[in-house]
């Protein structure tokens, strides 16, 4: 069977499962559509949260980022898991007790202000739409690489599949497809990692393998890796960072942003009880950790594998000839994600750090005239099975896994978007008397429109796809998280405080990002170059969400202090969300 047929079999098979689930889990009411009827078991929900959360960024990009950055990019590992501690202790149980359908609904009720709700809807839409672009674009890349279809056509296929199960089943369909998608993606991620760990260290558990001995050299794997990369002028893989403030703030922004992302929060509304919401957080992190504990191993081993592929005789010997390169390099060259340029015309592939001034003499002595191979970080996980010479079915599995990761997150985001439109905008503002049936129809139509918009944006990704993800986290961290947390932990913060807090946190964060990244990301409009020497106190625009959250808290408390305290019924509402007893299923007003 050809590789194409194998890939088709795996991807097609997984899609059939998703559609089968959609038909089985059709939503009959708005409660089914928004919160899966509120009857999801906490372990099931944990698994669904895992798939909901782990996007194309986690599955495809993260290991590549860590491989390139080493210790410095541990921020992603801690940031994208530590947020669950905040969710499980500071938000999820109380929002579950509140028992409504959407995140803006809580903000609107708690701050007795339709305007606060509207601000929350805007934040939700911006954060979720920017996030969904990346998912659709990721699905397009996976399709074009593995199924040899045009990225745009691949996107259309993905959109149709999401359309079927998300529009038909709403949260109910999404929950059970996410469970299936979690299984596909975790198997796909783990199997190649196990093989590679066995090859390099003899340890079948990748997370342990990375801290054990590299069989070939007899050195600890990370020591060997440090040696290889420093021989070629790169920073030590495990090297400490100088700018610790920025590392702390970036990690904190990712954590707070994770906790404030609406598509994750609404998953906690689907469990029957408050205590289930707490357990769900723990289970979610278990299922996420299965991938996140493997990712750093994949990163270090793939980096070592790449280096030894190019320098098979060791770093002091000659690198391989271009004509003798392995097949996977030429396959990925076709996609443009690996590029080669023979700068010194010796027919060999020199891969080293030509930006390192201290290494320039060594390079010159060896007759090297610049780095010749550029490898895009994103291919690392997808190419992993090929780099390690694994059988064809593992490659098919990776294709299905990458698509599962992208589609499950896209579906969760689309649900957050459509429920904000149909429940918060249409029912909450335009037509409060709409019937349950009418609202369900409105929810389905907004979901369909959201899919069309997301597909269009995925096919025509704005040039700033990488930056917008930072924007999504910045917005969630600076606007939604503080408003939600204060709504639960303070009885004193009132409508003015919350609204102005959200607005100032949001504006502060946006302006800081735009000043360095360009206004609305339009190239050439940045006021300062996006480099460390221009950043205020060395804080990068990616890390500013944490400061934005502080601004939000400060403004909200300050304004609330000088204005009237919330009405007594609101203070009672705050009391009631703090005590688990009496949490019915999530329901309408």
């Amino acid at each position: 069977m050809s590789q194409f047929a194998i890939n088709l079999l795996f991807v097609g098979g997984s899609f059939l499962i998703y559609i089968g689930i959609a038909v089985w889990a059709k939503a009959g009411s708005t409660s089914d559509f928004y919160v899966a009827g509120g009857g999801v078991h906490p372990v099931t929900n944990g698994m669904a949260i895992g798939a909901d959360w782990m996007s194309a960024a986690s599955f495809i990009s993260m290991a590549g980022l860590i491989a390139a950055g080493g210790y410095a990019n541990s921020t992603f590992l801690m940031g994208w898991t530590g947020g669950y501690v905040l969710l499980a202790m500071l938000l999820a149980p109380y929002l579950r007790k509140f028992g409504k359908f959407t995140v803006p609904e809580f903000i609107g009720d708690r701050y007795y202000s339709p305007n606060a709700r509207l601000i929350a809807v805007v934040c939700l839409l911006v954060a979720s739409l920017t996030y969904v672009i990346g998912q659709m674009a990721g699905a397009g890349v996976a399709f074009s690489r593995f199924l040899e279809v045009e990225a745009t056509n691949g996107l259309m296929i993905a959109a149709v599949v999401v359309f079927i199960y998300a529009v038909l089943g709403g949260m109910k369909g999404i929950t059970y497809t996410q469970v299936a998608q979690y299984c596909v993606l975790i198997v796909a991620y783990t199997i190649p990692a196990v093989f590679i760990s066995l090859q390099l260290t003899g340890n079948p558990i990748p997370g342990l393998g990375m801290f054990s001995t590299h069989t070939e050299s007899g050195l600890p794997l990370l020591e060997k890796l440090n040696q290889v990369v420093t021989d070629l002028g790169f920073r030590e893989y495990t090297a400490d960072v100088d700018n610790k403030l920025n590392m702390v703030l970036f990690t904190l922004s990712l954590m707070i942003g994770t906790a404030g992302l609406p598509h994750v929060i609404i998953r906690f509304f689907t469990v029957p009880k408050v205590s289930d919401a707490r357990w769900s957080g723990g289970w979610a992190l278990v299922f996420i950790a299965l991938l996140y504990l493997t990712a750093p191993a994949v990163a270090s081993m793939a980096r070592l594998n790449l280096m030894t592929t190019i320098y098979p005789e060791g770093t002091s010997a000659q690198p391989i000839e271009y004509d003798a390169r392995p097949a996977w390099i030429s396959t990925w060259e076709e996609t443009g994600l690996i590029t080669y340029q023979d700068k010194n015309n010796d027919g060999r592939i020199q891969l080293y750090n030509d930006a390192n001034a201290d290494f320039a003499d060594t390079a010159a002595a060896r007759g090297w005239e610049g780095n010749e191979l550029v490898v895009n970080n994103d291919i690392l996980v997808l190419a992993n099975p090929e780099i390690a010479n694994l059988p064809g079915w593992v490659i098919g599995l990776i294709a299905a896994g990458g698509l599962a990761a992208a589609l499950s997150t896209a579906a969760g985001l689309l649900l957050a978007i459509s429920s904000a439109v149909s429940h918060d905008l249409i029912k909450g503002r335009l037509n409060p008397n709409i019937s349950d049936k009418g609202e369900l129809l409105a929810a389905r139509i907004s979901m369909a429109v959201a899919i069309v918009v997301a597909t269009w944006l995925g096919a025509n990704p704005p040039g700033f796809a990488a930056q917008v993800v930072a924007l999504a986290f910045g917005i969630a961290a600076a606007s939604l998280f503080p408003a939600l947390m204060m709504g639960i932990f303070s009885k004193r913060v009132n409508n003015y405080g919350a609204s102005l807090g959200m607005l100032s946190g949001l504006l502060f964060t946006l302006i800081y990002i735009f000043v360095f990244k360009g206004w609305f990301f339009i190239p050439g409009t940045a006021n300062f170059p996006d480099t460390a020497e221009y950043w205020v106190l060395g804080i990068s625009p990616l890390s500013i969400g944490a400061i934005g959250a502080l601004v939000n808290f400060a403004v909200a408390f300050g304004v609330s202090k000088v204005t009237a305290e919330p009405p007594i019924e609101i203070q009672e509402l705050v009391e009631s969300v703090r005590y688990p007893r009496g949490a019915g299923g999530a329901q309408d007003h």
Partner: protein, 87 residues
Amino acid sequence: MSGHSYDAENYWKANLRLIFGSLIIWALVSYGFAILLRPMLAGIPVGGTDLGFWFAQQGSILVFMVLIFFYAWRMNKIDEKFGVHEE
């Protein structure tokens, strides 16, 4: 819950104490051991590197997991003790 009784207040305080303690550990392993205190832990070797690196790439995630389950378990006990648990 009537919300103003003595017990309700103590229930909430018990929750806040538990959250506060958990978040100290949460911050200590990630911002502490993995980032700011890493140079201090540099002398403790772990599989070819140091303890701080391990906390940054794996240890903190493991601690986060334990923390959430511990919190969920303790809160269930506290819910019952104060009679605010669900039926």
